[in-house]
Assembly symmetry: C2
Homo-oligomer: 271 residues x 2
């Protein structure tokens, strides 16, 4: 096993370039991103999806290698290039403040929309121009936990391969298909052709997201659309069914990841 | 109206001291914190609670003053000390990257536990050692939107008066009583004395958070306890009823703010 102790190693520069201020540009140029920590790397090495987001290389400290060997069988680990680095090298490489000593360099290859329809999904969550990296990661995790079949992000959404988003998914990035950079109108058109009911969450709809509505709408294949954190939904020529989550108190709206948790849980899980 | 244009004004130092790296210490010393943006400051000047978190002073740019004058009546605004600052002074003062030109210096005075019981609350959300400032703000916003009567944070939780948390509440900090620095065991003891049912969310409980359970448990006054992001709940000598949110997919758990959204919505709102 290669062992890096020099702070001048080109590996460090390569990893840092994928998470720093030029991160997004470099991730797009190289089709690569960084996953950090035992949970993310374990799922990356042994993905539940069995496809996409493949690992190109793993960097571990001595401690990190011990943790990884406990979490993943030798046979699986042997398939990957694993490079040991000193604690000092890891602390320079890592994005998080208290690195766990495990980093994977992964491929950003992700599903196309036409691949999605071929998978015969039943419940899809669509996010329009979501901007907060933590929100984006959280909704992927929620969609996974609620048994949704895919998460789709519109064009001009935050880059889901940035370290904050990857971390917020806590491994779910490797559990559920995530499709990015999709035009919302084209998506709705294709979803309708594929016989999906289309619902859009908004603040001021007549249709309330109540028990009766949930019971009725959860039975058929459906798409659930959520808008931008500040601006909500765009005006659409296609005409999704607009739905509001009923509220009490004085709050004008819910955080988008909280609204998604309420809806995805109600629709994805048979309570 | 006073008008500050000098970058050497002591006002700048005072505001920055409440949001920077020494922010938490200074907030505790001065019993003061900073609220930024039109939504937060509007609620601060005209709080739905009608008590606590009082505004000591407002800083506005010319633009900010226009926005504030549209949102708040002259009579209310006249009760407060409003200081106009130049755009440059505001950009140095503000915590957010694109400041809206409105900042309020507020008092951190908050409710005591004994005041809470006197208010005869029915639904209370309790968070043990919540660490992420965004999560803390989001759960306050969610509790408000779901008609809960109070949010309580344990000792060793993140400081709710830090700018990220205040921003994430989107004004709900002034809509719902928030009580901080409470010992969990003492809280449960007092809640039981006040005839509350005590439920604790955890990953591996026998009791599922399903429709039947929700129907039964939402009827009586109740406390809902959520654990730390990484470690979940502590072991407790008191014995709350443990409940798990059912999950599908491969995710091991939900983000605490997402779990809270699911629970608070189901319990606080009659669907």
């Amino acid at each position: 096993m290669e062992n890096i102790t020099s702070l001048n190693s080109p590996h460090i520069e390569r990893v840092k370039a994928l998470i720093g201020s030029r991160g997004k540009k470099n991730r797009e140029l190289e089709n690569a991103f960084i996953a950090e920590g035992i949970q993310a790397v374990r799922e990356a090495l042994f993905p539940k999806l069995g496809e996409g987001l493949a690992v190109k290389r793993v960097y571990v400290t001595e401690n990190g290698l011990t943790k990884l060997s406990e979490a993943i069988s030798k046979d699986i680990l042997a398939k990957y290039e694993v490079i040991q680095v000193s604690d000092q090298v890891m602390s320079v490489m890592a994005d998080s403040e208290s690195p766990q000593g495990i980093i994977a360099l992964c491929s950003t290859k992700s599903l196309k929309l036409k691949d999605l329809w071929q998978r015969k999904p039943s419940k899809i969550a669509f996010f329009w121009q979501i901007q907060d990296p933590g929100n984006a990661g959280t909704v992927i995790r929620t969609a996974d936990a609620c048994g949704f079949d895919a998460v789709v992000f519109s064009s001009e959404s935050v880059d889901i391969f940035n370290p904050k988003t990857v971390r917020a998914t806590v491994g779910s990035l490797w559990h559920i298909p995530v499709i990015v950079d999709i035009n919302i109108e084209e998506f709705i058109t294709e979803a309708k052709e594929n016989k999906f009911a289309i619902y859009a969450l908004t603040g001021e709809a007549e249709q309330q997201f109540n028990a009766e509505f949930i019971d009725k709408s959860k039975k058929a294949p459906s798409v659930w659309i959520f808008g931008n954190e500040a601006r909500g939904l765009p005006s659409l020529t296609s005409d999704p069914i607009k739905v509001s989550i009923p509220m009490k108190g004085y709050a004008e709206s819910l955080n988008v990841a909280s609204a998604a948790a309420i809806v995805l849980h109600s629709i994805g899980l048979s309570l």
